[in-house]
């Protein structure tokens, strides 16, 4: 099959819990795979499910339309799946239908974007968006402070602005910078795509003749941001990425403008499948004392730099 | 002179300016109740523009309009309709997607609380159509599927559907065949008998004689004659008022009978059948010969031309100089040109210039490897504009701003720049004024004299008989007679094209 690092998926094996148990059907619904991170989510989920002979994996059409995602989840409920893993386009908007699933006795594992109502999911697993912003803020703040820059020009390129997770990331970033007495000079949003990153960065670089640091929320759009920086022939500043793609890690290793990235790993999808299976089989997590899977699991956001990049490279997802 | 009857309509000093043209330059018009008032003038004289100001479709820049003794301002079509002025426009302005009945009552639908009363609408429409002698047109038919003559009838029905005191007809007979015109006149007489005034525009002087009471003549946007008696004024005088020149013979000299006999056949048609419309028609056109097709509207003449041009599926043999015609491209390549019946829908690019329209099918003449030589193109277009006296003589003017007759000249000019071996002319003088008509006839004859074969369809029998060398009579898609044009007269042909006549 497909091997090599261009296609590796995050899969975890081992432990008693992985021994075949009662058969479970796990329904899976996520936004349309229109960029690397989401694509990795879908692939990880599927790959993880394939590890188990007792899991019947039922993914539904990914879509960016809420109305359609609701229908998709409704159809999974109607098919009486054993558990649901949902990465909603918007947690608030999918809340009602997730609640409907729970009410119908189908445990919901909420992935990434969170449902506002705790009755709507059994377990949430996701990254720490606020924490990502904090990590990026600390990296930038500390470095500039050490350099003794007085009034640094700090730029921020967000992902899709209407997502709550974007707002969380920005909040964490601003809060962390504040501890150094810094603030964001200019902020623009892109669409998580290479091309939008390129366009926004192209214009931002014109607006600021001298930049000290730049945080870009997402390594997928980061490819475009880096291309724009190269085209503008700029290198007076350093950049921090987000999510932790393999490409970003290679750039870090090569030592260019991109110095670090803060992780938000799509491996969470693999974990979500594992948790859904355990919940449906009534098992707990092996390393914990509790008999049941916890109510929420937040992955830590780690900071990858030239110093530790080798260690992370195998975990990076391809853009 | 003092008249007992007050005029119903008085227009005084009407001026209408379009970008670059003063279409009306102080026009006067007086119409009495119960009369048929004819408006004459060359193409582009301003007739349609004048009646559009009367219909509220154009706002005049200067001048006054008095209707039934009251000075009125016609701010829009509704204002005119409310006063009792209804109009049959020159360009058939119908909605193709609506039914006949819906078109007739458009804007004053039969409805209760906004809900249409379909039954009433259809009944009323059927009644109007019956009154016009066309009970066979179903009110529920979609107008887009009707032939031009059918659309003209619907336009008339629409005008009659209003309570009118004055009805304006802008070339209503242009799309009609002989017998249809008689029918139209019957209606006009009924109207005038009831005291309705009719403003009648036509380029056919014989119609004016038959139906008109008085004549107003326009020339270059001005009134040049008012209230001439329609029957008494000599033709020569009318023509000279309109055109500013004297004209004796409208039709050019014809070569002697039989003078084409030995010449090669340009076109040979054998057993032509267009399913449902044309059945087993055979004929030929020789070099230098003008062959006319006479027949009723709907008899299939246009289909014969289209089939010869490769534009319509058919069976049978069609050969140009011995080579089979397969589709339009091959027809054009072999040297056939078609001037189609409906110029607006089938021939013209309304957004383009006069020159662009004239050279459309001859672009290959001015290009090498696709590259256009615009100087030569323009020069050729200009030459044809002068040749046909097309007005205004500005090749860069958008063709949509030209009067109908001048647009028709541009359609012909297209096949004059791109010389043909065979010309198919479908109603080539529809809407063309007397002076221009004579010019066109001369051009057509000259082309024939140069060796071109011409196949001519016209609903005006005098035109077919006066211009063609040989005439083919078509009835219900079959060729029922063929002979030298000089051996025929209108009555005989009429007998033949109507059903039940002796052969």
């Amino acid at each position: 099959e497909e091997t090599g690092n261009t296609n590796q998926q995050s899969v975890s094996t081992g432990g008693d819990n992985d021994k075949p148990g009662t058969k479970v059907t796990i329904g899976f619904s996520a936004p349309a795979a229109d960029h690397g991170w989401i694509a990795a989510i879908a692939k990880n989920a599927e790959a993880q499910a394939k590890q188990y002979s007792d899991v019947d994996f039922k993914p539904v059409e990914p879509t960016n339309d809420i109305n359609q995602q609701i229908s998709a989840v409704e159809s999974l409920i109607a098919q009486k799946v054993g558990a649901l893993v949902i990465l909603p386009n918007d947690g608030q908007q999918l809340n009602q239908v997730a609640r409907k699933a729970m009410d119908a006795g189908i445990p919901v594992v909420n992935l990434d974007r969170v449902f506002p109502d705790k009755l709507s999911y059994r377990t949430w697993v996701g990254g720490d968006n606020y924490g990502m912003g904090v990590a990026a803020g600390h990296y930038i703040g500390k470095k500039l402070k050490d350099k003794g820059v007085a009034k640094p020009v700090i730029l921020e390129i967000q992902g899709i602005a209407t997502l709550p997770l974007t707002q969380d990331r920005s909040k964490g970033f601003a809060d962390a910078l504040k501890t150094y007495g810094f603030e964001v000079t200019a902020q623009q949003d892109a669409q998580f795509t290479v091309e939008s990153g390129n366009e926004v960065a192209g214009n931002l670089l014109q607006a600021h003749k001298k930049i000290d640091a730049l945080w870009n929320h997402d390594d997928d759009q980061g490819v475009g941001v880096l291309a724009a920086i190269k085209q503008a022939n700029r290198n007076e500043f350093f950049m921090v990425g987000g999510a932790g793609s393999a490409n970003a890690m290679r750039e870090i290793k090569n030592g260019g403008v991109l110095e670090a990235t803060v992780t938000y790993s799509p491996s969470m999808a693999s974990s979500a499948i594992k948790l859904a299976r355990l919940i449906a089989q009534g098992k707990g997590m092996a390393d914990l004392v509790e008999k049941q899977v916890p109510q929420s699991i937040t992955l830590a956001s780690e900071t990858i730099t030239k110093d530790n990049v080798d260690q992370y490279l195998p975990l990076g997802f391809e853009s | 002179m003092q008249d007992m009857r007050d005029p119903l309509l008085v227009m005084r000093g009407i001026v209408k300016q379009f970008p670059g043209v003063r279409a009306l330059d102080g026009v006067d018009l007086e119409v009495r109740a119960g009369e048929v008032h004819c408006l004459l003038g060359q193409n582009g004289a301003g007739k349609s523009t004048l009646i559009k100001t009367l219909a509220g479709a154009h706002q005049p820049d200067e001048g006054t309009i008095t209707f039934a003794g009251q000075e009125v301002r016609l701010t829009g079509p509704i204002a005119a309709i409310k006063l009792g002025i209804s109009t049959i426009y020159q360009e058939l302005d119908l909605v193709d997607g609506l039914s006949v009945a819906d078109n007739i009552f458009l804007g004053h639908e039969k409805a209760a609380f906004g809900f249409t009363r379909t039954g009433d609408t259809n009944r009323a429409a059927a009644e109007l159509l019956g009154r016009l002698g066309h009970g066979e047109i179903a009110p529920t038919t979609e107008v887009g599927t009707l032939p031009p003559a059918g659309k003209q009838v619907v336009s008339m029905a629409r005008a009659l559907s209003h309570d009118t005191r004055l009805i304006v007809m802008d070339e209503p007979s242009a799309a009609l065949a002989h017998d249809e015109v008689d029918n139209l006149f019957r209606i006009v007489r009924e109207l005038t008998a009831a005291g309705v005034a009719v403003v009648y525009i036509s380029h056919r002087l014989e119609e004016i004689r038959e139906i008109g009471d008085r004549i107003t003549v326009l020339k270059d946007g001005r009134t040049v004659a008012v209230g001439l008696p329609a029957r008494e004024t000599p033709t020569r005088e009318i023509i000279s008022l309109m055109t500013g020149r004297d004209m004796e013979n409208v039709f050019p000299e014809r070569p002697a009978p039989g003078s084409h006999d030995g010449r090669p056949e340009v076109l040979r048609v054998e057993g032509l059948t267009v399913p449902g419309v044309v059945t087993d028609v055979s004929f030929s056109v020789r070099e230098g010969e003008i062959v006319g097709l006479a027949g009723l509207v709907g008899s299939g003449r246009s289909e014969i031309l289209e089939a010869v041009y490769g534009a319509r599926g058919c069976s049978g043999r069609i050969e140009l100089n011995g080579a089979p015609v397969r589709g339009i491209s091959s027809a054009v390549r072999l040297g056939i040109g078609l001037a189609p019946e409906e110029r607006k829908a089938q021939a013209l690019l309304m957004d383009q210039s006069v020159a662009g329209n004239i050279t459309l099918s001859g672009l290959g003449l001015y290009s090498r490897l696709g590259w256009l030589d615009r100087k030569r193109e323009l020069a050729d277009a200009k030459a044809q504009i002068d040749e046909l006296d097309l007005r205004p003589a500005d090749p860069s003017r958008p063709i949509r701003t030209l009067s109908g007759g001048n647009q028709q000249k541009a359609v012909l000019a297209r096949w004059l720049v791109n010389r043909r071996k065979l010309l198919l002319l479908d109603e080539p003088t529809r809407g063309v004024d007397v002076g221009a008509r004579a010019d066109l006839y001369a051009v057509i004859r000259r082309l024939a004299d140069e060796g071109i074969g011409v196949l001519l369809v016209s609903s005006e029998l005098p035109e077919v008989l006066g211009l063609a060398d040989r005439v083919l009579v078509i009835r219900e898609g079959r060729a029922v007679h063929q002979s030298d044009a000089r051996d025929l007269d209108e009555h005989r042909v009429l007998d033949m094209i109507m059903e039940g006549s002796a052969l």
């Binding site: 809420i66 159809s75 386009n89 | 479709a57 249409t116 379909t118």
Partner: protein, 337 residues
């Protein structure tokens, strides 16, 4: 003698049985046969591939509920397109209406005011479209594009780019999606009512006749004494009202108002209308065709969901199905005429 003169275009000779032809025509008849055939084919595919899931009542309800929101918008879009225009702003207007109706201030007046607010916002935005087009003489494409962009921006601004939850005390709104009558959620009835009202308006009123005229030949309509500008205003306002109603439905389904609602709905709605046989140039079209077009799209999506195909293959298949449906449609038209 006069009888032989015939100016009617009915190719003489075949007079179809008058009784049946009338009723068939009433619903648009033969011209929808292809669409119906495509739907039937899709249903067969559904039955074969998903015997247990496709034909269940819950699945059919789900299809209808999914179709309802865009369906309502499609009705308005059909009018606009028949009237010779186009409305690119429908999705954005729906989003704006949903945001406006879920602001704290509006929500404090309760669900009825929320619904009214959504409809009014839709009507207002639609009227502004209509004004720019008819009195400002802007090209519909550009005017509604400007509205799409601006209304989207305004929706983001009003909501501060956050999703606004319908508050629990206003759960009457959500009830439209959760309360069922005869097994169907209320919003399906609303959808049906809008379609029925649209059909009557288009086919049985002077407004409908004039819509065809304004779209088919605006100059002829003007000469017939129709106030073309006013009518155009009304058409876009109508489309805006439909967006307002759709906003209520999307609030019911998602329990939220958001600037992200309705993204790309304009394309879906226009596509449904055009697949349904309405001419993009105006003057011709049917409501039923549009709804059939929409249902085809919705059923395709549903089939994909049920079969769990991967997205890329779905998209490829969708493209092929669209082409097939249209060719089928033409085939049926040709053979029926």
């Amino acid at each position: 003698m006069n009888d032989t003169r015939t100016l009617s275009a009915e190719p003489a000779g075949k007079a179809p049985a008058p009784a049946s032809s009338r009723s068939v025509r009433g619903l648009g008849g033969a011209r929808h046969l292809g669409l119906v055939a495509a739907l039937v084919l899709l249903a067969i595919v559904g039955l074969v591939t998903q015997p247990d899931n496709f034909a269940t009542s819950s699945n059919l309800v789900s299809v209808l509920a999914l179709a309802a929101t865009i369906g309502v918008i499609t009705v308005g879009m059909t009018f606009v397109i028949i009237g010779g225009g186009i409305d690119l702003s429908v999705g954005a207007i729906m989003a704006l209406a949903s945001v406006w109706a879920t602001t704290v201030a509006t929500q404090s007046y309760g669900p009825v005011v929320m619904a009214l607010c959504a409809i009014l916002v839709g009507a207002g935005a639609g009227a502004l479209n209509g004004f720019l087009i008819s009195y400002g003489r802007m090209v519909p494409f550009i005017a509604t594009l400007a509205m799409m962009v601006a209304a989207g921006g305004l929706a983001q601004r009003m909501s501060d780019r956050r999703t606004q939850l319908v508050r629990p005390e206003n759960d009457a709104i959500m009830a439209l999606s959760t309360t069922k009558v005869l097994g169907l959620p209320l919003l399906v009835y609303i959808f049906a009512a809008v379609v029925a009202a649209g059909w009557v308006l288009l086919n049985r009123t002077t407004f409908g006749r004039r819509t065809f005229a304004v779209g088919g030949n605006p100059e002829a309509a003007r000469l017939a004494g129709i106030d073309v500008r006013r009518h155009t205003m009304l058409l876009y306002t109508l489309s805006g009202v439909c967006c307002g109603i759709a906003a209520i439905l999307i609030m019911a389904r998602t329990t939220t108002g958001s600037s992200t609602h309705g993204n790309l709905y304009e394309l879906d709605a226009i596509a449904a209308v055009i697949i349904g046989g309405t001419l993009l140039t105006g003057g011709r079209g049917t409501i039923i065709g549009s709804i059939l077009g929409l249902l085809i799209f919705t059923v395709i999506t549903n089939l994909f969901i049920l079969n769990g195909l991967n997205t890329s293959d779905q998209l490829i298949a969708k493209g092929l199905i669209i082409v097939a449906a249209v060719l089928l449609q033409r085939r049926s038209l040709r053979s029926s005429s």
